[in-house]
């Protein structure tokens, strides 16, 4: 690993984070407002009619799901936009002619996208304390799942940004794939609440494993074993890294 150009990684990471902080109000306000609305609708309006899910107050039960929803959306959009924008503006040439390889570019962009997503998720967690009493059973695991999930989906977003040829393509995958997977992945309910057939179908959704593991770190409750959740997120990280390595090695959509 000594061959890694660390100042290069730092430069990309810093550059991306600077862009985030330049629009800090917009970056933080939008997810916080959305979360407040979710709490009002799901927590107060609907949650009032649902007493508890597996012994956890419904308002508190949806907190991990809301954080996961934000993590997934923010990771994908931050990372995909982060790498797509240089392609759009033409500044991508700098990354291709300088002594940074796929590892440095990925660490810089994905690291920054994941860091932003984790920051926003933690702000949402802070916001939720104003609405519900949330007790985190395994805080270290919670942070671990948060970082791993943010990394996995930032890697996915990074691939989307490398693949996209226009802004429409950039938005279509998050809109048509990620958001439905999150909503169908148990963000607002436990898979046990579904009829057996649909519970089986839900278990084909990789996001279910992430939300399940994350919810376990809060309440000790999981739809699937925690180990399976960890393997799922690890597998996704490995697959995405392999894909990115291939893209940079072949120059697909980067070099002619």
């Amino acid at each position: 690993m000594s061959g890694i150009n660390w100042p290069g990684v730092r430069a990309i990471f810093h550059h991306e984070m600077t862009r985030f902080f330049r629009t800090i109000t917009q970056s933080l306000l939008s997810p916080v407002v959305s979360t407040v609305l979710y709490f009002v609708v799901f927590g107060a309006a609907i949650g009032g009619r649902i007493q508890s899910v597996e012994g956890v107050e419904y308002g508190a039960f949806i907190v991990p799901g809301l954080m996961m929803l934000t993590i997934l959306q923010q990771s994908v959009s931050n990372a995909s936009f982060g790498i797509y924008f240089p392609k759009f503006s033409g500044t991508i040439y700098e990354y291709l002619v300088s002594p940074v390889g796929w590892i440095e570019v990925t660490l810089g962009f994905v690291g920054a996208a994941a860091a932003k997503a984790v920051l926003i998720a933690l702000v949402i967690l802070g916001t939720s304390f104003f609405f519900v009493g949330v007790h985190i059973l395994h805080p270290v695991w919670m942070l671990g799942f948060l970082v791993l999930t943010a990394t996995a989906f930032s890697l996915l977003g990074f691939i989307i940004g490398l693949w996209a040829k226009n802004f429409e393509q950039l938005q279509i995958v998050p809109m048509m794939v990620i958001t439905p997977l999150v909503f169908l992945g148990g963000a607002f309910y436990s898979a046990d609440m579904l009829p057996p057939f649909w519970e089986g179908v839900a278990k084909l959704n990789p996001v279910l494993y992430l939300i399940s593991g994350f919810r376990w770190s809060f309440f000790g409750l999981a739809d699937v074993p925690v180990g399976v959740s960890l393997v799922a997120v690890g597998l996704m990280i490995a697959l995405c890294c392999a894909a990115i390595r291939w893209i940079f090695a072949t120059g697909w959509r980067l070099r002619e």
Binding site: G3, N5, W6, P7, G8, R10, A11, I12, H14, H15, T18, R19, R22, S89, G90, T91, Y93, E94, Y95, L96, V97, S98, P99, V100, G101, G251, R255, E256
Partner: protein, 313 residues
């Protein structure tokens, strides 16, 4: 002098089947300025793009400072700075941060004193806190140069550095290039402005259809391929060119006081001696004689319109 760039049998064929480079070989010496000339689509930008890592070659090798650009790309790229043809800058980023960022990408630690020196030399220091979108086109181009110099490269590629800039700014760019030459930076530039190549380059390479037609020292090229015009001023105005001198390609000025004669410096016999003898024979007294070298543009047009020639690097 040692070759800082060694290009051997370089080829590039795009997926569409277009051959952008065919068997290009060239050694570029440390500290020299070489200008690559050629019409649109000749392969100039592809050649630069391959050396810098933007385009993957289909054949041949390139070594920069002894490092192969494919197997030892990190070391090779550290030696190179590129100023692209298109202005590509982050619109909301400040000038100073832009340059700092590039320096970081090249693995260099922060050095604001050096960046200040670069920005001052490009008359950008006053704009260091301005967002790049607020700058004029010429300033943006200078920011690109500053970025390319951020890591103290040994080799600088300038792809059409003065395309679309006004005359004053073009002169300013030439001064910048001249200063870099004095600092020992090897410069490879592509240009459409033949005057630019003539003004700045130690050597000129002519590319057409992906082939390097020739590489010659600028002065040698001008002398070897240049056409000259001989102007003969006569003491007594002439009403017309005498019949005995007709068919020699002579032109008489409207006032009848001078004759002009175009000749090829490559020809064994230029016909000048015979012409002057014949003028004397006609009793025409010569007051003064002068010659004018044809411009590089004329040289270039002659080269690219002639049948393909062998590469001489």
């Amino acid at each position: 002098m040692t070759a800082i760039i060694q290009i051997e049998n370089l080829s590039k064929q795009y997926g569409s089947g277009t051959k952008a480079l065919s068997d290009v070989s060239l050694d570029i010496q440390e500290g020299e300025i070489i200008a690559l000339l050629g019409p649109n689509g000749a392969g100039k930008t592809t050649l630069i793009s391959v050396i810098c890592g933007l385009v993957v070659p289909t054949g041949g090798t390139v070594r920069v400072g002894g490092h192969d650009i494919r197997t030892d790309w990190r070391a090779a790229r550290k030696l190179i700075g590129l100023v692209p043809q298109e202005i590509a800058l982050e619109p909301f980023e400040k000038v100073m941060n832009c340059v700092r960022f590039t320096r970081g990408l090249y693995g260099e630690g922060p050095d604001d004193a050096y960046i200040e020196q670069v920005l001052r030399s490009l008359a950008l220091w006053d704009k260091r806190d301005a967002a790049t979108r607020e700058l004029s086109g010429g300033m943006k181009r200078r920011v690109l140069i500053a970025k390319a110099l951020a890591h103290r490269p040994k080799v600088l590629f300038l792809d059409e550095p003065t395309a679309g800039v006004d005359v004053a700014l073009r002169r300013e760019m030439w001064e910048v290039v001249d200063r870099l030459r004095r600092e020992g930076v090897t410069i490879i530039l592509t240009t459409h402005y033949l005057e630019e190549a003539e003004e700045m380059a130690d050597r000129i390479g002519v590319i057409n259809h992906g082939r390097l037609l020739l590489v010659r020292p600028t002065s040698e090229l001008m002398g070897e391929f240049g056409r000259k015009t001989l102007t003969i001023e006569v003491t007594q105005p002439l009403a017309a060119i005498p019949d005995d001198l007709a068919g020699r390609g002579l032109h008489l000025s409207p006032d009848g006081r001078s004759l002009t004669y175009d000749y090829d410096t490559r020809a064994d016999r230029t016909g000048i001696a015979r012409l002057l003898g014949d003028l004397a024979g006609q009793g025409i007294m010569v007051r003064d004689v002068s010659t004018r070298q044809s411009s590089l543009e004329e040289v270039f047009m002659t080269l690219v319109s002639e049948p393909r020639q062998e590469v001489t690097a």
